[in-house]
């Protein structure tokens, strides 16, 4: 009797499972139409850190994109469809990014992912969720990791930011042109983001006197004090490059302010960690930033003479009242504007494949705030291709050196760094693209 009970129970369990399977198999199959597209809505998804250490900085991106999409939606949407951006938190943690991306695709059934943030996070999500294999468009990734533009590997992913390799090469060129022979220190994150930069500097032939590689999350104020007293000071470096997130720049500059330390020529900040608004919010006295060298592909968010800046700023103030407009917000809104143009270019009945094709064929002509050209083509998913170099003012804005905006363009390979002139389309009327 007792011997038979487990068997009976198991049989019963199998029957229940089988019945469940049948019930599930009668669930409606996925519609043949495009996921995330209805006659009134286009559903897009984004993963970014809304909680955790870097949330204060990068958590603004979904809000910034939504602000621009709201402006477009309030003016008729994209061919009558409103854009609905679903934002998921990944806390800047790869495993959570994987889950969030899976949820966006399988549960929310979004049409495309836009503006996903963080090199390691999105890399994990991209591989695990197999966006390329599933044909899910992965637009305007918010990281400069050059690997994302590898079209052979990630068929549906489009980079937008100039790559870290490009930035490192351009910084090296600037140092070579202006500070040849000076002692350079390099502070980078020990992951693909940092390794990309190290590779870029090496390609450009710059050999740092000191290289500090730290594991992600180890960029505390105490650690930064250790780097300054233990490495930068003893080596008597002339230029110290901080090529990391704003959290790192804030820690290093904060520590430097406390120790009253400054490299003999000064600091040089990578674009990722160079937003002065965020640094100020992180407790960095702007005096220490004064005269530091910085890079950017876009105008400074305080540049009132720039039409894109004034437009984005007014939209942001309208839809997210009471928030600070900074470089992160500007980039988010800029990517949102590119997204709208991509959706328009994909036509009135967009498909995932059609969207990718549209960016490949028409993306290089999209209007945007970036000063350097977009390199989208059938063979390239590279976005902006260069940077301008400036110096921080006493108020923390990045300004052209001696009134002249020096632009450089290059690639993520071994191509040369060349001077360039500004090339960008004017702002569409009322910031609403009319391309097709």
């Amino acid at each position: 009797m007792i011997r038979n009970t487990p068997k009976k129970r198991a049989l019963f369990a199998s029957a229940v499972i089988a019945a469940g399977a049948m019930a599930l198999s009668t669930m409606p199959a996925q519609a043949a139409s495009q996921p995330g597209i209805t006659s009134t809505e286009i559903k897009l998804g984004i993963t970014s850190p809304l909680s955790g250490k870097v949330a204060a900085v990068y958590g603004k991106i979904p809000g910034a994109m939504k602000a621009y999409f709201s402006h477009v939606n309030d003016n008729g949407g994209v061919y009558g469809r409103k854009i609905n951006l679903i934002s998921k938190d990944d806390a800047y943690v790869p495993t959570l990014a994987v889950k969030a991306t899976n949820d966006l695709i399988m549960k929310d059934k979004v049409f495309a992912i836009v503006g996903a943030l963080g090199t390691a996070n999105h890399l994990a999500a991209l591989r695990s969720a197999n966006l390329s294999g599933r044909g899910v468009p992965d637009l305007f990734v918010n990281t400069g990791f050059s690997g994302f533009a590898d079209k052979a590997k990630y068929k549906t992913t489009f980079a937008v930011l100039p790559s870290y390799v490009m930035e490192a090469k351009i910084m090296a060129k600037y140092i070579d042109d202006n500070y040849k022979g000076k002692k350079v220190a390099l502070i980078v994150q020990d992951d693909d983001f940092g390794l990309d930069a190290v590779a870029g500097f090496a390609t450009a032939g710059l050999k740092p006197e000191v290289t500090i590689k730290f594991p992600t999350g180890a960029d505390t104020l105490a650690a930064a004090q250790g780097w300054i007293t233990g490495k930068l000071k003893p080596a008597n470096v002339d230029i110290a490059i901080i090529f990391a997130t704003t959290t790192t720049s804030a820690a290093v500059l904060g520590a430097a302010a406390g120790l009253q330390y400054r490299p003999t020529v000064g600091w040089m900040l990578g674009s990722v960690g160079g937003d002065s608004n965020t640094l100020r919010a992180g407790g960095v006295p702007l005096a220490i930033l004064n005269g530091a060298i910085g890079t950017s592909f876009a105008p400074d968010p305080s540049d009132a003479s720039d039409e894109y800046v004034t437009f984005f700023k007014s939209i942001y103030a309208k839809y997210v009242p009471g928030s600070t407009f900074d470089l992160t917000v500007l980039q988010g809104m800029n990517s949102a504007m590119l997204t709208v143009q991509a959706l328009r270019a994909a036509g009135k009945n967009p498909t995932r494949a059609g969207l990718i094709k549209a960016i490949e064929t028409k993306g290089a002509k999209f209007a945007s705030a970036g000063f350097t050209p977009l390199r989208y083509s059938a063979n390239s998913h590279v976005g902006y291709s260069g940077y301008w170099i400036g110096k921080y003012s006493a108020t923390g804005s990045l300004q052209p050196i001696d009134g002249k905006r020096v632009l450089y363009t290059t690639d993520s390979g071994s191509g040369a760094v060349v001077s360039a002139t500004i090339s960008r389309a004017p702002l569409p009327t009322n910031g609403l693209p009319t391309n097709s």
Binding site: T5, P6, K7, R9, A10, A13, S14, I17, A18, G20, A21, M22, L24, S25, M27, Q30, L50, S51, D89, A91, V93, P94, T95, L96, V98, K99, N102, M106, K107, A120, N121, L123, A124, R127, S128, N130, G133, D190, D191, K213, P215, T216, G217, A218
Partner: protein, 325 residues
């Protein structure tokens, strides 16, 4: 044993059919359930049978996950071998821990294993080979081409994890019904009495801890497969607690309810999600509700079915029979 084997084969066949008929999300959740089945099974072996408490199984899963990822990423070993290595190395690591654990019992053992869960995953931040907070990527590879173009990667994960879970459960059911299982139960009930019967209590405790760790390591490796990446964040403290809850809800003295515990652990975040969306999709609710539900379930299970729903049913049936008789 032959009957059990047939039963497992039949169950595998049913699962295979289900896997073909449900959508991708369900297949993915199925893979997660299979991972939890193994992890909860390892707790049932340890706590339900040998009477040792572990609040640190999440850390052992992390250990297995890192072993597997290092095998694939650094040594380019095949996936199946990485899983075997994960189980083996974590088993050995668990055996070493078991030597310490065998000397402890009750709250002391719980405290020690809890320390493990808190400390071990964050060790990854100290060694650059472990990839810090960002972790290491485990390339799961593509499903074999012979399965066809439309065979998705998640279905492939589902197959691997389900097969592993079935094999594990078959092995576990056998070992728990063998002389080892009986010895462990004797040990749990009264270790002095067991010792008087000639059981080497220390050795048996270490053996149980080691085997349980090996299973946890395998579960960790499979978890890493399903997310293609291993990092400390994949193994939070709450995972260890969730596993214990899953085991208690399953009925810790019996292996049969293991599926129930695993399903509950996967379903709870879904319920939390849908509840949270009723309240306006507040992020705070979504992130804290699963923990609340798991805790509430643990309390309810301890209050109403301390020995698991299986035993409860059994009990009810006996009562009914007694009444009718």
């Amino acid at each position: 044993m032959r009957k059990r084997l047939l039963l497992f084969i039949a169950l595998g066949w049913v699962l295979l059919l289900i896997g073909d008929r449900v959508d991708e999300l369900r297949v993915y959740q199925g893979a997660s359930i299979a991972v939890y089945v193994i992890a909860i099974g390892s707790i049932i072996l340890l706590t339900g049978y040998s009477g040792q408490i572990s609040l640190g199984h999440g850390a052992l899963m992390a250990f297995g996950g890192y072993v597997a990822a290092l095998c694939v990423a650094n040594a380019s070993l095949p996936l199946w071998f990485a899983f075997v290595m994960a189980a083996l190395v974590t088993g050995i690591f668990g055996g070493v821990l078991g030597f310490a654990a065998a000397r402890l019992s009750g709250p002391y053992l719980a405290g020690t294993t809890l320390a493990l869960a808190v400390g071990l995953p964050s060790l990854a931040n100290q060694f650059s080979i472990l990839g810090g907070e960002q972790g290491i990527y485990l390339d799961p590879g593509l499903p074999p081409a012979s399965l066809g173009e439309s065979f998705s990667q998640y279905k492939w994960f589902f197959w691997i994890t389900t097969l592993a879970a079935l094999i594990t459960m078959f092995w576990l059911a056998n070992i728990l019904h063998s002389k080892y299982g009986r010895t462990w139960r004797a040990l749990r009930s009264n270790d002095v009495a067991a010792q008087l019967c000639g059981v080497h209590t220390g050795r048996q405790k270490v053996l149980a801890f080691s085997l349980s760790s090996g299973l946890a390591g395998l579960a960790g490796a499979l978890l890493v497969l399903t997310i293609s990446t291993v990092s400390p964040s994949a193994f939070p403290l709450s995972l260890s607690f969730a596993l214990v809850t899953g085991a208690v809800v399953s009925g810790i003295y019996d292996l049969k309810g293991v599926m129930l515990g695993a399903v509950i652990l996967v379903v709870i975040p879904e319920i939390a999600d849908s509840v949270a969306s009723r309240f306006g999709d507040s992020l705070k609710i979504t992130s804290t509700l699963p923990g609340l539900l798991v805790s509430a379930l643990l309390i309810l299970a301890v209050l109403f079915t301390p020995n698991g729903p299986g035993e409860k049913l059994h009990h009810l049936r006996h009562k009914r029979k007694a009444h009718s008789g």
